[in-house]
């Protein structure tokens, strides 16, 4: 197990190199000279040259990339062009907000999705099943910015139960988390249902019944552990979608998270910050999927992780 985790951590290295190359090239592929942008449109050419020199923009690309990666490893993500502060200071607090939002939304979607999916599967074709599946379809097809606006309109503006914007107090957390978690909950519910239905018709479920096991234990012990394997995969992939969805949710609820910072920085052409945001989101996504891989081993001992 430990060997596997270490091995997988090493396998992350090429992935991360790929990510940094893409992020790095992206900045160079975009039109416009960052030095010119920093200095301002009417700055004299000498100033621009000076800035170019200071930023190392005249070095060959591989050298620039090497400098960039060395910086990243040391926690130096560059300097914000707009605020002239270290990017890390801009990004870190925002990152924590987004992670908080994403984790709460994931917990909500797993919780709701699993319960709804299990109920649906155990009572296939019942009123409960059909209602859950209709709601899930609705939740899945609804754009989350629209859902966010509707929730805000109804619960924050009309009813006044929650503050409409911001982040931090428990009241401020609820609406954005529902907005962001709904689509995930719907996908997890549908996945859990189909996976459970498949497992429930397996021979070993009949064996468990023949042993005199209670129906509830059959569902939660014998069936669920088998049914979770595809669901966990979906949860991992869902986390990526969640980080992307967070950008919109943060915009709607005016939450100062990474997504909002990313959008603002794109608008301001603050490339080092854009770069840092994308790098962080990529790393989080890769790490979450590593955790998913590891969890397979706990769910099904047959999966040989050494391959």
């Amino acid at each position: 197990m430990t060997v596997f985790i270490i091995r997988r951590l090493f396998q992350l290295i090429p992935v991360l190199i790929g990510v940094t190359i893409l992020v790095f090239l992206m900045m160079h592929a975009t039109p416009g000279n960052p030095a010119q942008l920093m200095a301002g449109e009417n700055a004299p050419p000498e100033t621009v040259e000076l800035i170019e020199e200071r930023l190392g923009l005249n070095d060959p690309l591989p050298v620039q990339y090497f400098d960039y990666v060395t910086g990243v490893i040391q926690g130096d993500l560059g300097t914000s062009m707009r605020y002239n502060t270290p990017v890390i200071d801009e990004v870190a607090p925002r990152f924590l907000v987004t992670i908080e939002l994403a984790v709460y939304a994931t917990i909500l979607s797993i919780f709701l999705g699993l319960i709804a999916g299990i109920i649906s599967a155990v009572r296939q074709y019942s009123v409960a099943d059909v209602s859950i599946m209709i709601i899930a379809l609705f939740g899945l097809s609804m754009p989350n910015f629209w859902l966010g606006l509707m929730l805000m309109q109804y619960f924050a503006v009309n009813l006044g139960w929650f503050p409409p914007t911001g982040w931090g107090s428990p009241g401020q957390v609820i609406l954005p988390v529902i907005t962001l978690g709904t689509a995930g909950a719907a996908i997890i519910a549908r996945m859990t249902r189909s996976s459970m239905l498949e497992v429930i018709s397996q021979d070993y479920i009949r064996t468990a019944r023949a042993k005199g096991v209670k129906e509830r234990i059959i569902v939660y012990k014998h069936a669920l552990k088998n049914a979770l394997i595809p669901v966990v995969t979906v949860i991992g992939l869902q986390f990526g979608a969640l980080l992307a969805g967070a950008v919109l949710t943060e915009e709607v609820f005016a939450i100062n998270g990474l997504g909002r910072l990313l959008v603002d920085s794109i608008n301001n052409r603050d490339f080092p910050v854009v770069q840092a945001c994308i790098l962080i989101i990529s790393v989080v996504f890769v790490v979450v999927n590593l955790l998913v891989d590891i969890s397979y081993k706990f769910l099904n001992k047959r999966i040989d992780l050494n391959d």
Partner: protein, 343 residues
């Protein structure tokens, strides 16, 4: 039955309700399992033998349903039991093993965990005692190095070993009745013989009664004391195993025996039964076997015979053995001239 019966099934009817139609998988099945003996239930695929077996433990899944009948275990009708009472019977007094050892064990739990489960439910054994008992059981069913096996997962074992594990699981609580639903069908021939031998040994050792579901008359000859032959959801013949093989009554039983290579009789050739099993929705009105029966008369085609007692524990569902028989009175169903007279 002169002997005491542990299980008496009477007029059992189990149907599947699909799209408003009733498919009668088991249609009035009656048989006895004498205490300490083995009853074989033989029949082709779709004859309702497995459904009969699953009905005993009420393991029929929707859209299947037990419609009518009586399943008396030690004199008490199991169909009157509540779901909770039924759970106390399952895996405790009546156990079952299944056809597919490869898929009948839960892939995500160890052998030990799965054997311990029944012990915990019915005997309240904790993990430590349960493991000890599981090791004992694995040893009993002839699994080498049982102490290592309890921590292994099903995928680490071969098919034959898994069926042994299934048997160990079934025997965990010393059941009085073991239902084996085609326990050897999915196994290699060499392993088949071992598993049958094992079931027989354990039956004697633990004084169990066994219901052996099979389509293989060879298995019946080897393991059973009594046989119920099923055709299209009905028992067509019931007899002790020697009588059945030496003096089969029902033309279907005769057909089955004629199509089986045997060492105890002199056979010119194997004779297949003509035709196929009728589909559930085109079940004949009369005797279910009439369309394939070489002796069938108008009576056979129009009216269903009863399962009549011929005395000496023999029962047969055929017009030939009744006073109403309207065909050749001298009809010789089992062609005795082909049999050796060594007995």
């Amino acid at each position: 039955m002169s002997q005491e019966s542990i299980l008496q099934v009477k007029g059992l009817r189990t149907s599947f309700f699909v799209g408003g139609n009733e498919v009668k998988a088991v249609d009035g099945v009656t048989f006895d399992v004498p205490k300490g003996k083995t009853l074989g239930i033989v029949g082709e695929s779709g004859s309702g033998k497995s459904i009969s077996a699953l009905s005993i433990l009420q393991l029929i899944d929707s859209p299947g349903e037990i419609v009518d009948g009586e399943i008396k275990f030690k004199g008490e009708n199991l169909l009157d039991y509540s779901a909770a009472d039924m759970r106390k019977i399952r895996g405790n007094q009546i156990s079952m093993i299944f056809q597919e050892p490869m898929t009948s064990l839960n892939p995500v739990y160890t052998i030990g965990q799965q054997i311990r489960e029944a012990l915990k439910i019915h005997r309240g054994l904790d993990k430590k005692d349960g493991t000890e008992k599981a090791v004992e059981l694995l040893e009993l069913v002839g699994i080498p190095s049982p102490r290592q096996r309890v921590t292994q997962y099903p995928f680490e074992l071969s098919g034959g070993m898994r069926q042994r594990v299934m048997i160990a699981m079934a025997l965990a609580c010393n059941p009085e009745l073991l239902i084996a639903d085609e326990p050897t069908t999915a196994l290699d021939v060499t392993i088949q013989a071992q598993i049958l031998e094992l079931i027989k040994e354990l039956q004697e050792e633990l004084d169990m009664s066994v219901v052996m579901i099979t389509h293989d008359l060879g298995v019946v000859a080897e393991t059973c004391d009594y046989v119920a032959v099923m055709y299209c959801g009905k028992v067509v013949e019931y007899a002790d195993v020697n009588t059945l093989f030496k003096n089969p009554r029902h033309p279907y039983t005769v057909g089955l025996l004629n199509s089986l290579p045997r060492s105890d009789v002199d056979q010119e050739e194997l004779i297949p039964i003509k035709g196929t099993v009728p589909a559930p929705h085109e079940m004949p009105d009369g005797c279910r076997f009439a369309p394939r029966c070489p002796f069938a008369t108008d009576l056979c085609h129009s009216e269903l015979p009863n399962l009549d007692d011929l005395g000496k524990g023999e029962q047969v569902r055929c017009w030939i053995y009744t006073d109403e028989w309207d065909g050749d009175p001298e009809v010789k169903v089992h062609e005795p001239e082909k049999r050796t007279s060594e007995d």
